[in-house]
Amino acid sequence: SQPKVEEVKSNEAAAASTTQEEPAAAPAPAAQATESRLDTVRKRGKLICGGNKNLAGFGVLASDGSFSGFDIDYCRAIAVAIFGKADDSTLEIRPLTASDRPIALQTNEIDVLVRNTTYTLSRDTEWSANFGPTTFYDGQGMMVRKDSGIEKLEDMEGASICVQTGTTTELNLADQMALRGINYTPKVFPDAPSTLAAFQAGNCDGFTTDKSGLISQKQELDDPAAFQILGVTMSKEPLGPAYAHGDDQWADIVDWTVYCTFSAEEFGVTSANVDDIAKTAEDPNIRRMLGVEGELGKGLGLDNDFCANIIREMGNYEEIYNRNLGPDTAFSVPRGLNSLWTDGGLLYSPPFR
Amino acid sequence: MSEYIIECRGVKKWYGEFQALKGIDFNVKKGEVVVILGPSGSGKSTFIRTINRLEEHQAGEIFVNGIELNNDVRNIAEIRKEIGMVFQQFNLFPHLTVMDNITLAPIWVRKWDKPTAEAKAMELLERVQIPEQADKYPGQLSGGQQQRVAIARALAMEPEIMLFDEPTSALDPEMIKEVLDVMIVLAQTGMTILAVTHEMGFAKTVADRIVFFDYGLIVEENTPDNFFTNPRHDRTKLFLSQILH
């Protein structure tokens, strides 16, 4: 039944037919086809990026009214790729909740979604969306009180577990516990703060979400030292940008923006040295990436030096990571899988050529 | 035709299945003062209210000043301008001052400017002898004063006809006198008046004619003298015996 569902869904999103009248819906796809997403964004003068405002380290509303975080930096990077800079005039962050993000994508409210969204097959099909390269490899973990005596999932027979609704987390939890034959009571909440508050208040024995989230949210607890994160990883949670079906040029722009940050780290290009390297580099791989040689950027419909711009403004992957999650932050999340393939991690950029 | 300012021919009126007026033929000359009497529920109020279209009649014809009262909204508006009405319960607008109560319609219906309307209002308040109450609210006045304001409000539109529906029956004895005095002066100035009232003193002294209603019909029409001393109809006699206890 899966393909059938997909067909229904994609038709529906594309044809945009709802309770409104049929005829008005018909021209919609045509109109979209004539104008590429890139043209729309250029004409508008700004990129609209769906983000989060409630996840520490990934998407937060800062005291100065701007958004910041790992995901937000990727929104910025895309804006830089298109406009050469990312500020209020070229980028708008649209804070979304977990359950309205697919609608925002489908209705073209946003151009791209970078909101700690796990890439899964059903989302790929049923959201009528595609996913770009994974920017953060996460896995679901479990946090418990240190004095609870729980050391592994198997100790959680009969326990209650706080989990946020509308997420893959909720579904993974069910799968993993069923797999292990553990009975438990899920307690679901609509957003991250209320989920954590319930855990803090002692309403549940365990608290589950992506490990990166666990690490940062542990800091939000009154007494972080009284809690521990179990070693188990219950799922694969590849987080990355997502965009609506139907515009391959746009998909390429988002994808290569991400790859640009990977490659830059691999080649040791940083925001500090990018201009020097552009002048002096001899490695044709680096020269092509930075737009000194070849027409790669033009091929995407962007400026030839789009990647140099990204690195100058945002830095390479390592800089972005360290700025938001690295050792100098409150979270200090170890790189782990999020290391370059050369360091035994999973980050791997196809060649710029 | 133009002899009468009000002409009614075969006026009938139903409330649902209940017939309140059963064919009233009745005319009033300009300047006449007519008192309507009758037991409770006989249709007095209904009749007087059909004349300015507060109730719609379903059969018969009513002409006021030669204009027929029918569904034509302009006719109704035209006729209402010429008819002032005073209710038993005063029906003053409690949220407006006495002055505003009186000037509202002249300003918005007759389109007078405010100073003109206010001058006229003060003149009328003097006529009903409460000029000092102009800035009070109705709730701050006694019943007699309220009813006099209601009369002034109706007169402010300079109507040719005044309708009174039991204007004194919600009042204390001393206040009744205040209001009757105003009505008597009004009658003497030549205003056409149609009044439902049980004040026999008023009926005797100023009415040109007395009309007696029962069961939605005019049972007797007579001069005041004859009506009280020599009523033609048995029903009238019975009624008088109860009233004049």
């Binding site: 529906e12 309770t19 409104q20 059903s122 509308g166 609509p190 508050a197 309403n203 | 379903q58 033609r232």
Partner: protein, 356 residues
């Protein structure tokens, strides 16, 4: 002129200006050109809105998102092996409701009294039917955390309405009281509670309560939400009732005093029945609001109807079914709100509020 010599007490039948349905239509819908235009316009609007909606609903919409999940929409995570208990409860209420329609219309005093007793007892019966008993194999205990869906929304709304009613009435009387302490306390309560968002109250209850209570006392989230709903609603109700109290003429109090009725008797027999009657529309409006606000309890981790609906959207297979799910949820809320509203209008008519 006309001088009837004999009084005609007979009546003629009123003239029939409009006959039957066609006459009514002609008179009301096409009475003037303005009416006619309006009628045509609104028929057009209906066509433009309804036809594509219906077409979408019949051909395109993926109602499987609803049908597959109908059980959890009705009762949330209540165990499906035991859910016959929920349906028995629903059936019971439907039967009681239908029987009442007859009984309360009729004149049978004994029957009405019996019915009233049944209504009074039924909440306890239904509660134990749903909750069950510890260790019982016939009616095993179902923990409150398993109650969800429409079942939970109803429990919250009904409890909220029933409990806020007396509290609200007392608060309204308190605010009118001559005793300054009672007056102040009522006023402060009303103003503070009205002044703070429901979400904040629920959240505070979530964060604060465990700090106040001894650590081993745990109040089920459902009870916390029930209490919060009732206390919150009571403040609004109090203001509505106060509106009704202001409409009671002083003469009613005086007559009751003169008869020697005690303050309580006066309130119970004379003042409250009249005060409440005049404020039925705002009270019903508020109860409708309360019913809808029950969805906010999601914040304390309860799976009420709207939250169950939303959680369907994260099920693989129905990730894109927002329109269907939200439409269905809106429809369900509408049906129940409309039922309340209609019942209240019938009640208003019966009590003759609109007539004067």
């Amino acid at each position: 002129m006309t001088t009837a010599t004999d009084i005609n007490t007979a009546y003629e039948a009123p003239p029939r200006t409009e006959v039957g349905v066609l006459g009514w239509l002609k008179h009301h819908l096409f009475g003037s050109w303005f009416d006619t235009i309006l009628t045509i316009l609104s028929l057009g609007l209906l066509y433009v809105v309804l036809v594509p909606s219906m077409r979408w609903a019949v051909t395109k919409a993926n109602w499987r998102a609803i049908t597959t999940n109908i059980l959890i929409l009705i009762h949330g995570p209540y165990p499906q092996t035991q859910n016959y208990r929920v349906f028995i409860a629903i059936g019971l209420l439907v039967v009681m409701g239908s029987v009442s329609l007859f009984i309360y219309r009729g004149e049978n005093v004994r029957g009405r009294r019996t019915m009233t007793i049944i209504w009074a007892v039924s909440p306890f019966f239904i509660w134990y039917l749903l909750a069950g008993f510890k260790g019982s194999s016939f009616l095993p205990l179902i923990e409150y955390s398993k109650w969800g869906g429409l079942l939970l929304s109803f429990i919250l709304a009904i409890f909220g309405i029933l409990a806020s009613f007396p509290i609200g009435v007392l608060l309204a009387l308190g605010r009118q009281s001559d005793m300054p302490i009672i007056k102040w306390m009522s006023t402060v309560y009303i103003e503070v509670v009205r002044g703070v968002p429901f979400i904040t109250v629920l959240f505070m209850a979530q964060v604060m309560l465990p700090l106040i209570l001894p650590p081993d006392v745990r109040v089920a989230g459902m009870f916390r939400a029930m209490v919060a709903t009732a206390l919150f609603s009571a403040a609004y109700l109090a203001e509505n009732v106060r509106g009704g109290l202001q409409a009671i003429p002083r003469g009613q109090y005086e007559a009751a005093d003169a008869l020697g009725l005690s303050t309580f008797q006066q309130m119970y027999f004379i003042i409250m029945p009249q005060a409440l009657r005049t404020v039925i529309p705002p009270i019903v409006g508020q109860f409708i609001g309360l019913f809808k606000d029950t969805s906010l309890v999601a914040i304390v981790g309860l799976l009420d109807f709207l939250n169950v609906s939303q959680s369907i959207l994260s099920q693989a297979g129905f990730l894109g079914a927002q329109k269907e799910v939200y439409l269905f949820a809106a429809l369900v809320y509408f049906v129940f709100s409309f039922a309340m509203s209609s019942a209240s209008i019938r009640l208003e008519k019966q009590l003759g509020v609109g007539q004067r």
